[in-house]
């Protein structure tokens, strides 16, 4: 049994359908990469899993339980945390307060504490009492990842964590992923940067206009196949 599955997942924004019967599977301990162009439905896919968009109960199955119709707060409590696109830190809070609020609703016993997050991203410790709005984009991304880890989730969903960041910062952030996995967390990353996604993924899905256009191991495809799946023929 997979840890997390989507089964014929559909999603709508009012009258506009954004996902059309998406089937994906995440095995325990794996990293899934979702790639695709802007508007392909990648972020919608993560929103549907995390409960920000609610659908049919059986369209998302976590640990054998249907969770597709649950609200986001309940899904978080079951062990799925989202690092949202654009970081979305709480602007009235300091770095440390942002981390602490990450475990408000649910704290699974596990490796991730405030100190563990600081050892993962040491530069945050120096800035722990700074308002989160005064941080650089890369540091804010680190806080957003740390905040999501604070509940010790079984699945971490990362939405475009490299977007708008300098390559050296992206490298730092991606270097943290193996440590997150080794702490027992499975990961789904949504990325536009194909190279970065392929480096860390155990399994790759390419989305195109709300449908899966390619699925498999990251080394199973030629550059040409990925290009066609990404942009269309």
């Amino acid at each position: 049994m997979s840890l997390l599955e989507t089964r014929d997942l559909t999603a709508h924004y009012r009258d506009l359908q954004a996902l059309f019967g998406v089937n994906t599977r995440l095995e325990e301990g794996d990293t899934l990469a979702i790639i695709g162009a802007n508007g392909a439905g990648k972020s919608t896919y993560l929103k549907a899993i995390s409960g920000l968009i609610r659908g049919h109960p059986g369209s998302v199955v976590f640990d054998g339980e249907p969770i597709g119709a649950l609200p986001a707060a309940q899904i978080m409590r079951r062990g799925i945390a989202l690092v949202p696109e654009g970081r979305r830190l709480f602007p009235s809070m300091t770095v440390e307060e942002n981390l602490l609020v990450g475990k408000y609703g649910y704290e699974n016993p596990g490796a991730w504490t405030v100190d563990a997050v600081y050892s993962l991203f040491p530069r945050l410790k120096e800035r722990r009492h700074q308002p989160s709005t005064t941080l650089s984009g890369g540091e804010q991304q680190m806080v957003a990842i740390g905040r999501a880890l604070m509940s010790n989730p079984r699945v971490l969903l990362c939405d475009e964590i490299s977007l708008g960041l300098a390559p050296i910062i992206i490298r730092d952030i991606y270097q943290a992923l193996p440590k997150i996995k080794s702490a027992g967390t499975s990961v789904i990353i949504v990325e536009q940067d194909i190279q970065q996604a392929m480096k860390v993924a155990d399994r790759l899905y390419c989305f195109q206009e709300g449908r899966i256009s390619l699925a498999g191991g990251p080394t199973a495809f030629t550059r040409e196949e990925i290009h066609v799946a990404y942009f269309g023929s």
């Binding site: 995390s50 409960g51 920000l52 609200p71 986001a72 707060a73 978080m76 409590r77 945390a81 989202l82 949202p84 979305r88 709480f90 602007p91 009235s92 809070m93 307060e97 602490l100 609020v101 990450g102 475990k103 408000y104 609703g105 649910y106 709005t133 905040r147 999501a148 509940s151």
Partner: protein, 289 residues
């Protein structure tokens, strides 16, 4: 000169009462951007609740307020959870209409239950007790208690907001309700708790309102007006700003009355208008809105 100084002191003390009226309103607006037009009537409801407890149990008015506070918390929680949460959304009109309707319902309900007669809460000898400051100046113990209570309430709320997990949940929900859900925060429950807390503060305001002056079911809207003015002068969502706003209205009123007794209420409203013209976002607007 002593007379003017005394007038300002009395104004500052009166400001404490207006701040207590306003803190609940400020709290609710700060957390859920809800403008509660029934706030003044809820203060009056709390005053009648304290009166009912005093009459039923024959206990001291301060002890009665301690009994009324959890009752009012429950009223606030249920009101938010069952009714007001349904009105929240992008459109600001539904909560305004519903709380306006609620205001009318509370007024008429109180009229049915307690009649239109003026009522008063009695604090015994405390009502006339005063402390001499020397030089012919004295402050009443009750007005001083009101101001100190307002400061204590705001201090306690700030402790809650900045030091307790529940306070962080309030702030997270205020900052970004969608992302707050991803922290496992149930916004509807958080809003209901916030309204409950606001009603506890309202009970404290009601206690002093009832001791200071007569009250009847119709006086809620005027208390709402003072509360609004204090909140807007202070800057929306800022609790210490709300205290400053209350004090500005209080001082303006006593100064107005010092010049001409008929100018008391007018002077408070003029001070409000002056701040609105000079600082439309209030004196201490929140950095993030």
């Amino acid at each position: 000169m002593t007379g003017l100084f005394d007038t300002i002191i009395q104004g500052v003390l009166l400001g404490g009462l207006y701040a207590l009226f306003a803190v609940g309103l400020s709290l609710i607006f700060g957390i859920m951007r809800l403008v509660n037009l029934a706030h003044g009537d809820l203060i009056v409801l709390a005053a009648f609740t304290i009166l009912a407890v005093v009459n039923a149990l024959g206990i001291d008015v301060f002890v009665a307020a301690l009994v009324a506070a959890p009752l009012m918390f429950a009223v606030g929680f249920l009101l938010q959870f069952l009714i007001l949460n349904r009105t929240l959304g992008r459109d600001i009109l539904p909560p305004l209409l519903v709380t306006f309707g609620l205001s009318i319902i509370i007024q008429n309900g109180l009229l049915e239950a307690f009649s239109a007669d003026s009522k008063r809460l009695s604090a015994g000898a405390l009502e006339t007790a005063s402390i001499s400051l020397g030089g012919g100046l004295a402050v009443g113990v009750m007005p001083l208690m009101v101001l100190l209570s307002a400061i204590a309430v705001i201090f306690a709320l700030n402790l809650l907001f900045y030091w307790l997990p529940l306070g962080r949940a309030f702030r997270a929900t205020s900052d970004d309700p969608e992302i707050a859900q991803l922290m496992g925060i149930d916004n509807r429950r958080i809003f209901a708790i916030a309204m409950g807390v606001a009603m506890v503060v309202t009970t404290i305001a009601a206690l002093y309102l009832g001791i200071r002056a007569n009250f009847d079911p119709s006086i809620g809207p005027a208390r709402l007006l003072y509360a609004f003015e204090a909140v807007i002068i202070g800057g929306l969502g800022s609790l210490w700003g709300t205290l400053a706003g209350g004090i500005i209205i209080g001082v303006a009123q006593t100064l107005g009355a010092h010049i001409n007794p008929e100018w008391q209420i007018l002077a408070g409203h003029l001070a409000f208008l002056a701040v609105l013209i000079l600082r439309p976002r209030g004196l201490f607007p929140r950095a993030v809105d």
